[in-house]
């Protein structure tokens, strides 16, 4: 049956719903496919990626159906991406090229970067823990947390500088002590002959054994 010639696989990957289609895409399949994708959008899916690489034949009404669905999903704050590089599809989608986000393969699809990852992680954690906070509260908490961390760093830095200064003082004192010891030794050496002659007497107390 021509209305059932298309194979469909629906799968979740990296936070998006992938529709992988293969086989010939005839006009008879357009209503059924529209219904299936609209059903997914109604179920709350906002990021849909449609892999058309294995489509062997495409009817001219298919791109306009995808255009309608793109409007629907964008109207609900979502997005629909198309993945293909085969010649027949490229020709068919040429007039709509600027309207669709078309990628050659899965690797070419932008992942959304660090912020997107944070947002996704945050949503996931919120869903798991059930804790939700408003944006101003989140900003206040963030600023407070940042202030705490900054203060902590400042205290650590001050302590660090003080330790450095004390180290320098100890080093200077040690240096002075070494010089004084050497000088004292020299003076003692000079006084030794005079002591032996009995000209002068060492009155400094002797250190015990």
């Amino acid at each position: 049956m021509r209305s059932e010639a298309l194979d469909i696989t629906i799968v979740s990957r990296k936070g998006a719903i992938w529709l992988i289609l293969s086989g010939p895409f005839h006009a008879e399949q357009v209503p059924g496919m529209r219904e299936k994708i609209a059903g997914l959008i109604d179920d709350g899916t906002r990021k849909i990626i449609i892999d058309l690489e294995n489509i062997t034949d495409i009817d001219e009404t298919v791109p306009s159906m995808f255009l309608n669905l793109l409007n629907v999903v964008r109207g609900k704050g979502g997005d629909m991406l198309l993945v293909f590089r085969n010649e027949a599809l490229t020709k068919s989608f040429l007039p709509y090229k600027s309207l669709f986000s078309i990628y050659a393969d899965e690797k070419a699809i932008p992942t959304g970067g660090l912020f997107s990852l944070w947002r996704k992680r945050g949503k996931l954690l919120s869903r798991k823990t059930g804790i939700r906070i408003s944006r101003p509260i989140a900003v206040v908490l963030l600023v407070t947390l940042f202030g705490w961390i900054l203060t902590l760093f400042l205290i650590i830095n001050m302590q660090h500088q003080r330790i450095r200064q004390q180290e320098l003082e100890i080093r200077t004192t040690n240096e002075w002590k070494r010089n004084a010891t050497v000088e004292l030794q020299t003076l003692r050496e000079r006084l030794k002959p005079l002591e032996q002659l009995g000209i002068t007497k060492d009155n400094t107390p002797k250190q015990g054994p």
């Binding site: 696989t9 799968v11 059903g39």
Partner: protein
């Protein structure tokens, strides 16, 4: 006067699944027998047929003298491929790979490529001639039963041509090892006398000798082979023992011979079955295993980085082995261990591919899985796979418990379909078959199949809708059907929903019946499910309700009225199915196959969940439930080595 020739092909056969140790012992004993023959009869030439994986198992110390025998021209190697592939059942690329892998195994283990090809069960497909030529296999040995009757007595070889490609075929007489002809000498003379060809040409009698590897009396089988070779040795001055290539080099063919697609169902049968594919597909399970194999093969073929998938291909070579499909005493799809083994290997590959694709949550596929022109809905997650045929009653024809790598809807059904359909509603043993019957229908009526169907839901086509959220998947089947009430046909609509939640091993289901007319209806809804439980044979499978354990499922009718939950468990496959219902229903449980049918294995039970339904005008009735698939400790050892 020229001496006529005799080509003796020895084909060691291993039909059944056995442990590796037992197989190693058997194949080594066979190799030793061949070596003994080689040393005792220096002038005898043998044509040795083997699948590649046999060579991997033979002791290297025995392989070495076999290599020497080949070097001095006493042996010619022939192959069936890496395994014994079912040519008519497998995708062409997989056969090509199987042959390539088999030829490479020969090069690695015996230092030479095999000279010819021997399709197991003489399963000949003329479209494979090019494939054989690509694999450098210049001739094939087939049963003479494949030739037209008037040409069967001619001794020699033929050229088989198909679509511009040709190949040499040697028609062979078959001898099965235990019943080797006592009077072999006179039999050989008789065969040469029966050949109507003019006498000046050299005739070739090709004898294919089946050597049963796994038998209770292997010593007698080996002695039988030795005796046969002794007879040929005695005939040395009259008939020359030859290798096939030797004969090909110096003798012309008998002529052209067109051999269509064919098979010899029993290895030593004298007749072929022309419509063997129709015959096989009139059974339940064989087609589903084949479709699953093709589905997995297509999946692997579509992958670009093929080197990662080589181990999976090797597993598929074993799954496409003809012995798993052709019914025989020791093996075939009618054996529960063979079916379960195939499903286990295929589910394992599917699981690995899913892991590789990093698929999270459930997946829905709508594809022509059964390859019968319609679409099937396949819902999978990490632990469960549900295959729904929405065109034929919206029933579940395969239910894989992936954690245990088994399909619990794989029971054998001796009833044959009227058409070679993979699934036939009303005959096939599947799950979630919806019968609408009169309120008086009892469990005995169901068991004896005496009930009268008053609805059209068990075989009717359902419309479907699929739903997918990030983690859950659902298939909603809907049919605007009819039932007979007071001899009038009245409208009734049924909606049934199957779903999978995240990666949980749970299959929730919902039934909703709506009466859109003003007439009140009264009937009984009976949901039939057939589960395959290998533990029934040794009475280890049991049904449990509350704390009552009911064993002996293979021989009795069990009726549990108005229950909310039950579970059925089989330690042989290690699965426990726990069913929880929202509304109390009657449970009837009886053997899937009638005990009256002699020789039919008992490996399945049919469970019917039934409930009386009363619908007033514009009324609705619904029922929810779920099947939870839990693991349990496996009982006994698995003989899953091929």
């Amino acid at each position: 006067m020229k001496r006529h020739a005799i080509a003796l092909c020895i084909h060691p056969i291993k039909n059944s699944l056995v442990s590796k140790g037992a197989f190693r012992e058997a194949i080594n004993a066979f190799a030793q027998t061949v070596l003994d023959i080689g040393s005792n009869h220096q002038n005898i030439r043998l044509n040795l047929i083997m699948p590649g994986f046999f060579l991997e198992t033979i002791d290297p110390m025995l392989l070495l003298p076999l290599r020497e025998m080949h070097k001095r021209g006493a042996i010619e190697w022939l192959t069936t491929g890496y395994t014994e592939p079912f040519l008519s059942f497998s995708p062409q690329w997989l056969i090509r790979e199987n042959l390539k892998y088999g030829v490479n195994t020969f090069s690695e283990y015996v230092g030479t490529r095999p000279s010819g090809f021997v399709p197991s069960f003489s399963n000949w497909e003329p479209s494979y001639i090019d494939t054989l030529r690509e694999a450098h296999l210049p001739y094939a040995v087939l049963s003479r039963s494949l030739l037209p009757k008037q040409h069967r007595n001619r001794l020699g070889y033929w050229i088989n041509e198909f679509a511009g490609s040709s190949i040499v075929i040697f028609p062979a007489y078959t001898i099965f090892s235990p019943k080797s002809p006592a009077a072999l000498e006179s039999w050989i003379d008789q065969q040469f006398d029966q050949d109507p060809s003019p006498s000046p040409s050299v005739k070739l009698l090709c004898i294919k000798y089946f050597f049963q590897l796994l038998s209770s009396d292997t010593a007698a089988i080996a002695d039988n082979l030795r005796e046969t070779v002794k007879v040929l040795d005695k005939f040395l001055l009259t008939y020359q023992p030859v290798r096939f290539t030797e004969f090909l080099a110096s003798n012309p063919p008998l002529g052209l011979q067109y051999v269509p697609q064919s098979i010899v169902f029993h290895r030593d049968d004298s007749e072929t079955e022309p419509s063997f594919l129709n015959s096989l597909h009139s059974f339940d399970q064989v087609g589903i295993i084949q479709r699953k194999m093709m589905d997995v093969a297509d999946n692997i073929a579509s992958r670009k980085e093929s080197k990662h998938f080589e181990p999976y291909k090797k597993t598929l070579f074993f799954v496409q082995d003809v012995n798993r499909y052709i019914p025989s005493v020791e093996s075939g799809f009618i054996k529960v261990q063979d079916r379960m083994w195939c499903y286990e290997k295929l589910i394992d590959i599917e699981h690995e591919l899913r892991e590789r694709d990093k698929i999270a949550g459930g997946q829905i596929r709508i594809s022509d899985f059964l390859r019968n022109g319609g679409k099937n809905i396949i819902m999978t997650n990490k632990n469960v796979a549900v295959y729904i045929d929405h065109k034929n009653g919206g029933h579940v024809f395969e239910l894989d418990v992936r954690r245990r790598r088994c399909n619990i809807c794989a029971g054998y059904n001796p009833a044959r379909h009227s058409l070679p359909m993979i699934i036939e509603p009303g005959i096939s043993h599947t799950a979630f078959i919806d019968h609408i019957v009169s309120n008086e229908t009892t469990a005995e009526d169901f068991k004896a199949k005496r009930f009268l169907e008053i609805g059209d839901f068990f075989s009717g086509a359902f419309e479907y809708k699929i739903k997918k959220t990030e983690s859950n998947i659902k298939a909603v089947l809907n049919r605007q059907g009819s039932i007979v009430q007071s001899e009038k046909t009245c409208p009734l609509s049924m909606e049934k929903v199957f779903g999978l939640e995240k990666e949980h091993p749970v299959l929730p289901f919902v039934y909703q019946l709506s009466n859109h007319s003003l007439t009140p209806y009264s009937f009984r809804l009976a949901i039939e499910m057939t589960f395959s439980l290998p533990g029934i044979a040794d009475n280890t499978a049991f049904l449990m309700h509350n704390k009552d354990k009911i064993a002996g499922l293979g021989g009795q009718l069990i009726c549990l009225p108005q229950i909310l939950q039950w579970h059925i468990a089989d330690p042989v496959c290690g699965v426990r199915i726990h069913c929880v219902l929202q509304k109390p229903m009657d449970l009837w449980c009886f053997p899937a196959v009638d005990l009256k049918e002699e020789g039919v294995p008992q490996d399945g039970v049919t469970i019917v969940l039934s409930s009386p339904v009363s619908l007033l005008g514009s009324d609705m009735w619904s029922c929810m439930g779920k099947l939870h698939f839990k693991r349990m400790a496996l009982l006994g050892k698995k003989t899953d080595e091929i």
